[in-house]
């Protein structure tokens, strides 16, 4: 066992939960996002599923960075959040424009480029 003064500083979750469980948790979250993208036709819900996948990756990066005491992983998460915010603003503008032109956001209707 570690001396008490060291163990006090380590968060309880890190002491008790193996890093593998965070891998399993993030994989499950990521797969839920993938299933959402594949099953839904509403463009906004597809977008939200992409956000879920981004958050699964964020969780895993933060878990690894906390367990290894390396702040670089958390800086990466910060940049992922910045890019996600920019992506959402442009993406929702595109969806609004699609709705204005064809009065629906069902991605099944957008088949003009189909061969």
């Amino acid at each position: 066992m570690q001396p008490n003064d060291v163990a006090v500083n380590i968060p309880e979750v890190i002491q008790q939960i193996p890093l593998n469980y965070y891998l399993i948790f993030s994989t499950a979250l990521f797969v839920i996002g993938i299933i959402g993208v594949l099953t839904r036709r509403n463009a906004i819900i597809i977008f939200m599923s992409i956000e879920l996948m981004l958050n699964a990756v964020n969780t895993l990066l933060i878990a690894f960075s906390s367990y290894r005491s390396d702040p670089t992983g958390q800086v990466f998460v910060f940049f992922i959040m910045a890019v996600a915010a920019a992506e959402v603003s442009v993406g929702l503008a595109i969806i609004v424009m699609i709705y204005r032109n064809i009065r629906t956001i069902d991605v099944g209707v957008l088949n003009k480029l189909k061969w």
């Binding site: 299933i35 958390q74 959402v88």
Partner: protein, 185 residues
């Protein structure tokens, strides 16, 4: 089976934080599933906001306080308000979305399940390691430590992010602007 027994043994001597991890994890996955399955897009958005709050709890447990707060401000605040705005703007009705055929749905779920099994079986062989008690730094996720790294090693990407936001803002305004002949929704 052996793994399961060690799991059960470890489950018995958990403290509150350990149980919080399992509870929060379960709630997160359930609300994530309801994001995907909800019929009404508004319920979907509310479930996604709830998922983000649960993930913030996870970040708190991992002692990443700065990102926990940023997650609430950026995701649960800004991004989800944008989603709600778009949905209320577009005035979607529930019957607007005709379901995909059951075959497509089943195929999608099977593809997702196969991917999950594949990833988990790969991770089973990955030596992820664990924390090092001697060199552990509890202050990793605090503003102080992250700020030093962000403003020294990652100063260029940080400044480029501002240009990205400027471009995104211009793009969103250009795309969303009503042209002369366009209808008012």
């Amino acid at each position: 089976m052996n793994q399961f027994n060690t799991f059960l043994a470890s489950f018995k001597n958990l403290t509150t934080a350990g149980y919080l991890f399992y509870g929060l994890g379960l709630i997160t996955l359930i609300s994530a599933i309801s994001v995907v399955t909800a019929k009404n897009p508004i319920h979907s958005v509310l479930a996604l906001i709830f998922t983000f709050f649960c993930l913030t709890g996870h970040y708190m447990l991992l002692n990443a306080q700065f990102l926990a707060i940023v997650n609430i401000i950026v995701y649960a605040g800004a991004i989800m308000v944008l989603f709600l705005f778009a949905i209320m703007f577009l005035n979607l009705k529930e019957e607007d979305e005709e379901a995909k055929t059951n075959v497509t749905k089943m195929a999608a779920v099977i593809v997702g399940g196969v991917l999950m099994v594949l990833l988990l079986s790969i991770f089973n062989y990955a030596p992820v390691g664990t924390y090092n008690p001697a060199s552990f730094d509890a202050k990793t996720g605090l503003v102080e430590r992250l700020g030093i790294v962000l403003y020294s090693d990652y100063i260029l990407p940080f400044e480029l992010a501002s240009i990205l936001f400027l471009v995104a803002m211009v793009g969103a305004v250009m795309l969303g602007k009503r042209e002369a002949g366009d209808p008012h929704f």
